[in-house]
Structure formats: structure tokens, C-alpha cells
């Protein structure tokens, strides 16, 4: 799994790369920037092509297959993938036609092709097209893989696009399953395709508009091991170049948060021979039991509420936090399962107990 970023004209490449985002996806029409990216120490990881550029009034342009072949050879040169942006193309048959004409080139190359969920924008109104639904994308990629006689077609889920159409992104993630190779991470308010920073669209005082936690959690459960590509062009166009490094650092921290707090949860739970101890016996512990309890049952729970110490929850004994110290340090795998992470963390620190935090917002 890795992170990447969509290149934007005017981007502070040096700062973005320094922030840890080295793999760039760039528009085929912007390939002239490739040298600049490479000179700054970045990699060309993906080439985005707009299917709309291949059509004229809904019909394929005469040179459409040649444009696609050229894009393939550019991607091949950089050992990059291709992502097909399907915005404003209504019919899936357009893509099928191109692929049919390029079958030999696709079969002969190492380039993987990902089809992105799109929409049509009609005078500012967003509508579904043939590429908007997860099930349609699965159907289409199966068909294209059959047509090309290989397994090079996959799906790119663009969260912002799905939000514009009111699509259930969690279900889309589940339906597309392992066929999803790229996640285009960006957000909007449901009214415009802003390609802005995730986690900043809220109502009230920080109530998230997009259910990022569960989307990432479902990706983890489907075994997603592709690329998280931050295509937040809006953020980088809106923000002064001097702040691009800071914004990129925040995006990289987001990727690391998803990996550390969600994708690696099972790896950390599976620590050989260690006894899992949950600090907390309430709703978050129940969430743990529902999601992980069968595979990784806790040895016991601890809780500061003395009234429930000595009782059982879901067949697991509830003990005093001091009981943690009776388990040898090398055998403990302690997890805070309570929203008061800071206070409990301070308590465990004072006891000299190492711990991890269980983040239930990935598993609701």
C-alpha cells in the first residue's frame, strides 16, 4: 500500500516531496511537468486521462484509440498506471470501443488501467452516468478484462465524485472489493466538485459530512492494498504555495493515521502469545467484541468503575486496572477501549503500562 498525490500546476514540488508524498499522478495533458517532478526527486506513478477528451458530442473521435495508445506508452515509460476519468461521458460503450481497438497493446504492456467513478454535469447539476455505480464498474472491468484477455483493469473510487451523487461509498467499497486499486481521496460539500482536503467538510462544530472512518474501515476489511492518491487540486490551488508543504504533511499524516490506526489493527492484535486486555467495558468494548472478539478474544477487561469489577461482560471478566500489572510485561497487549483516551493514557503511563488505542470509528 502507498500514498500518492495528484500534481497541480504551481505546486511547490520540493515541499510536497519533502513532506513524504513522492509519487505523483498527473494528467496526460500535463505530461510536460513530468521532468520537473523527476528533477525534484519525485516519481511518476500514474497518468490520468479524461475519457471526455476522446469523444465529441458523445461519439468517439477518429484518433481516440491512437490517443489511448500514446497514453499507454507514456505510462509504460514511467512504469505508471493509467486512471480513466469518466466525468461527463454518459455511455460505457465508448470505453469498450477504445479498449477493443487497443487490445493488443494492452495485453503486451505492463500498464494497469483503473476506471474511475464519474458523473455528468449538466448546467451545474450532477447526474449519474454509466460509470457512477460500483456494480456497473465491476461489470465493466470484468468485461474489459475478458476483452483484453488479461487482468489489467481495475477500479478507482473517487470519494468526492461519489459524494456529489449521494452514493453510499461504504457499499461501493464493499461491492468493488479487491478490484479497487486506487482510492482518489478528496472531499466536497455535495454541491461542487471541489477536490478539497478530507475531514474539513462539516456541519455545526466539527460533525463530519463524509463518513471517512467507516469508508477507511471498510477498505481495510476488503483487504485493499492499493494506493491512496490525494487528488486535492482544490486545496493546492486555493492555498498559497508557501503552505503546500504544510498541507502535504497533513495529507501524509492522514495516510499514516489510516495505516497505523486502522489497517494495522489486526497485525497489532495478533501479537504472538500476548494476552489482549481491554481498558474499558462499555460501548467501545462491545464494538471491539463485535468486530474482533471471536478472532482475538480479550483475556480480561479492566475498568475504573469499581461497581462492575468482578462482573462479566460478554463472558469476559471485568477487573481492576491494577490487575494489568499481574500480567508480565512481555505478555501484555493492552488496548484503550474508551473515548477518554487522554485520561486513561495518563493513568496507564503512571502505571508504566504500554498500550495502544482502539479506534472504533473505523468499525461502526
Amino acid at each position: 500500500m502507498k500514498s500518492g498525490i495528484k500534481y497541480v500546476d504551481g505546486m511547490d514540488l520540493h515541499g510536497v516531496i519533502k513532506a513524504g508524498l513522492e509519487d505523483f499522478e498527473l494528467d496526460y495533458t500535463g505530461c510536460k511537468s513530468a521532468d520537473m517532478i523527476l528533477e525534484n526527486g519525485g516519481n511518476i506513478d500514474g497518468i490520468a486521462i479524461s475519457l471526455c477528451d476522446f469523444t465529441d458530442k458523445g461519439f468517439l473521435k477518429e484518433n481516440a484509440s491512437q490517443i489511448f495508445k500514446d497514453a499507454m506508452s507514456v505510462a509504460d515509460r514511467y512504469n505508471a498506471y493509467i486512471v480513466i476519468d469518466t466525468e461527463n461521458v454518459k455511455k460505457a460503450s465508448v470505453l469498450e470501443q477504445i479498449i477493443d481497438e487497443c487490445v493488443n497493446e494492452i495485453a503486451a504492456s505492463d500498464v494497469n488501467v483503473f476506471i474511475e467513478n464519474g458523473y455528468t454535469n449538466d448546467n451545474g447539476r450532477f447526474y449519474h452516468n454509466d460509470y457512477s455505480e460500483g456494480s456497473r464498474l465491476v461489470e465493466l472491468t470484468d468485461k474489459l478484462n475478458l476483452l483484453a484477455g488479461c487482468d489489467k483493469f481495475g477500479i478507482c473510487i473517487n470519494v468526492g465524485h461519489a459524494n456529489l451523487l449521494g452514493i453510499n461509498v461504504r457499499d461501493m467499497v464493499r461491492v468493488c472489493g479487491k478490484k479497487t486499486g486506487i482510492m482518489h481521496i478528496n472531499d466536497n460539500d455535495g454541491k461542487g466538485d471541489y477536490h478539497q482536503m478530507p475531514y474539513t467538510f462539516t456541519t455545526g462544530r466539527g460533525l463530519l459530512s463524509t463518513d471517512w472512518g467507516n469508508i477507511i474501515g471498510d477498505l481495510s476489511r476488503t483487504g485493499f492494498d492499493g494506493r491512496f492518491v490525494f487528488n486535492v487540486e482544490g486545496t493546492f490551488k486555493r492555498t498559497p504555495a508557501k503552505l503546500h508543504k504544510s498541507m502535504a504533511e497533513l495529507l501524509e499524516a492522514m495516510y499514516e493515521e489510516w495505516i497505523e490506526s486502522c489497517f494495522k489493527t489486526e497485525e497489532y492484535l495478533a501479537a504472538d502469545g500476548k494476552k489482549i486486555i481491554l481498558f474499558g467495558a462499555g460501548r467501545m468494548a462491545l464494538n471491539y467484541m463485535q468486530n474482533w472478539g471471536d478472532k482475538y478474544p480479550p483475556a480480561f477487561l479492566v475498568d475504573n468503575n469499581s461497581e462492575i469489577q468482578g462482573q462479566e461482560r460478554w463472558g469476559i471478566p471485568v477487573k481492576s486496572p491494577d490487575e494489568i500489572l499481574n500480567v508480565p510485561e512481555s505478555e501484555r497487549n493492552v488496548w484503550i477501549c474508551n473515548m477518554y483516551y487522554d485520561a486513561i493514557g495518563a493513568q496507564l503511563d503512571s502505571m508504566g503500562v504500554e498500550y495502544r488505542c482502539y479506534w472504533d470509528h473505523y468499525y461502526m
Binding site: 461542487g192 477536490h195 462544530r205 466539527g206 486555493r238 504544510s246 497533513l250
Partner: protein, 310 residues
């Protein structure tokens, strides 16, 4: 160069006090806005649920806040401002208003003095939608005039803030949303005080909601502007998000350049203080340190821009 600060809301009292201030310092901030309103939440006050935190004696409150003083000193951070609980006046809640005006606010002034806070933000009464500006002015002056002796005694100033009122699904101009209104309040009260005990807190997000040009607002206020609440929104809801996360190009969202220009013009020498606690709720908790660092970087950028304005 101007210093950069952030409110403690979203960090304290959730985190242990010493860790919280260190957390803010580690992100790069030199100043804090002490969110004392977290001890008596506005949502509770609007709902009429008043907790008893400020029933404690001044002596006991100062013992409690001594931890803040020690932790700030230890972290090497100091307060640029403090936010008192609000609203101080809710229409039709006589007893609650009496408690807020006669107990909570005076105790907050003493706490501010104890913590070395130069300016405490207190929301003036919002009454103009129902009663008009004349009644609103009379009631505000009547109350805030009474606080003058205590402010003098404690050497603490009060800042009024540009506010809006939520009417149905709309946010409309409230008290001090008009710069001339704000100036009238401050000049009137300072005349009564015979010294500058009242200043202004400019909330950049509230400016967006009622469509006021920042440069014009700031330059009208001039040296009366003492503290800032920096944040951004979609111009519809009071979202308190980090700057530059709305819109898709330089011409959208808050016109930050107009703010930089205005602050330079008036030779603002306060703190670039961010009121962005909802980011602590919206981003995953594991990212809090990164989010704060980003906000601090934005503040440092702003300081540089203001410094270099022509």
C-alpha cells in the same frame, strides 16, 4: 513578527493540563486563548442547563486554575486572551442571566487576572433582532459599565466580538457585526472608564457569514482591535475550520489578503489566534498533533505576509 496562538478548546480540559499546554507548545504556538467557556458550555446555557462549576468560591477556582498557570509556565507559553462563558444574556432566562452577569463574568475577570490574561472576550447581549439596536445598546452599556471598577482593579480588559444571530436556518447580523456599532460601544464604555478597558475581538469567520469586507472592518476599528478569532467557513455555517480549506482557487473563500492588508494598515501588534477547535473533532484524534502543526504553519505564514505587506 506577530506571534501565533490557538484556543485551548478541543485540547483542554480533555487532556491532562500539563500535557495539553505542552502539546500546544510542541505544535509551535507561543500563545494560547484560554477557553474558559469549556467549563460552562454555550449549548448547555442555551438549553438552560447551568452546571455548578462557577458556584465555587474565587479562592477555590484560583486553586483549580493554578494548575493552568504552572503548566503554561512549564511549557513556556502565555495567554494572549481568554474566552469567558457565553451567552451572558438569554432572552427570558432571568435567573440564569443574573447568575451569568453577577457571578460567572466577575469571577472570570478575577481568573483572567490570576492567569495573566490581558484581554477577556465576553459576548455582548444579543437583543437587536427582537428589540432593536437602541434597547440592545442600553442594556449592554448598563451591564458592562458596572464591570468597570472590577476591570480596573484586576487590570483586565474586555473585548467585544462581532456576532450573528441564528434565525431559523439563517444567520443574520447581531451585535457588533457592524463596525460602527462596535466602535460606538467601545468608545462609549472607554469614555466611562476614562481609560482603554474595552477592545475588540475580530472573528474572521463571522465576518464571512454576514458578508463584511475585512479590510474595511479592520481599518475602521483601528487600534481598538486587540484580539482575533481566526477561522474560515463556507459563508453559510459557522464551521470554525482551518483557513484555505474552502473553495478551489485564490478568489474563493475568505479574502485573507484583505485581512493581512488591514492588520498591517492598523499596525496590529496582537496575536494571530486561531479559533479552530472543530478541527480537533473532525480530523481523527491520532492526527491532532499534525492538525495543530498545520494551523500553526498557516499562522506563521500569515505573520510573514502581514510583516511583508506594503
Amino acid at each position: 513578527m506577530l506571534k501565533v496562538g490557538v484556543q485551548t478548546k478541543g485540547i483542554l480540559p480533555d487532556m491532562p493540563v500539563d500535557k495539553g499546554f505542552q502539546f500546544i507548545k510542541d505544535a509551535g504556538f507561543e500563545k494560547v486563548d484560554l477557553s474558559i467557556d469549556t467549563f460552562l458550555k454555550n449549548s448547555d446555557l442555551y438549553a438552560g442547563n447551568v452546571n455548578r462549576f462557577f458556584d465555587a468560591s474565587v479562592e477555590d477556582l484560583l486553586v483549580y486554575f493554578n494548575d493552568y498557570r504552572i503548566a503554561m509556565e512549564k511549557a513556556g507559553i502565555s495567554p494572549s486572551q481568554m474566552h469567558a462563558p457565553y451567552p451572558v444574556n438569554v432572552l427570558g432566562r432571568g435567573k440564569q442571566n443574573e447568575y451569568m452577569q453577577g457571578n460567572v463574568i466577575p469571577k472570570n475577570i478575577v481568573i483572567a487576572e490570576f492567569l495573566g490574561v490581558p484581554w477577556m472576550v465576553v459576548h455582548p447581549f444579543k437583543m437587536q433582532y427582537v428589540y432593536g439596536k437602541d434597547v440592545e445598546r442600553a442594556k449592554n452599556i448598563e451591564y458592562f459599565k458596572m464591570l468597570i471598577p472590577l476591570l480596573k482593579q484586576c487590570n483586565v480588559g474586555i473585548c467585544f466580538e462581532n456576532l450573528y444571530e441564528g434565525i431559523g436556518q439563517r444567520l443574520v447580523e447581531g451585535v457588533c457585526a457592524d463596525p460602527d456599532d462596535a466602535i460606538w460601544y467601545l468608545d462609549t464604555l472607554n469614555d466611562y472608564a476614562g481609560e482603554e478597558l474595552f477592545g475588540f475581538c475580530l472573528d474572521t469567520g463571522h465576518l464571512q457569514l454576514v458578508k463584511r469586507d475585512p479590510y474595511e472592518f479592520i481599518t475602521k476599528l483601528g487600534s481598538r482591535l486587540k484580539v482575533l478569532h481566526i477561522h474560515e467557513n463556507d459563508a453559510i455555517g459557522d464551521l470554525h475550520q482551518m483557513p484555505y480549506t474552502f473553495g478551489t482557487n485564490e478568489s474563493e473563500g475568505q479574502v485573507w489578503d484583505r485581512i493581512y492588508k488591514g492588520l498591517k494598515h492598523i499596525k496590529f501588534d496582537g496575536t494571530l489566534s486561531f479559533e479552530t477547535f472543530p478541527t480537533m473533532n473532525s480530523f481523527p484524534k491520532g492526527m491532532s498533533a499534525s492538525v495543530l502543526k498545520t494551523i500553526c504553519s498557516i499562522g506563521e505564514y500569515m505573520a510573514e505576509r502581514i510583516e511583508n505587506e506594503d
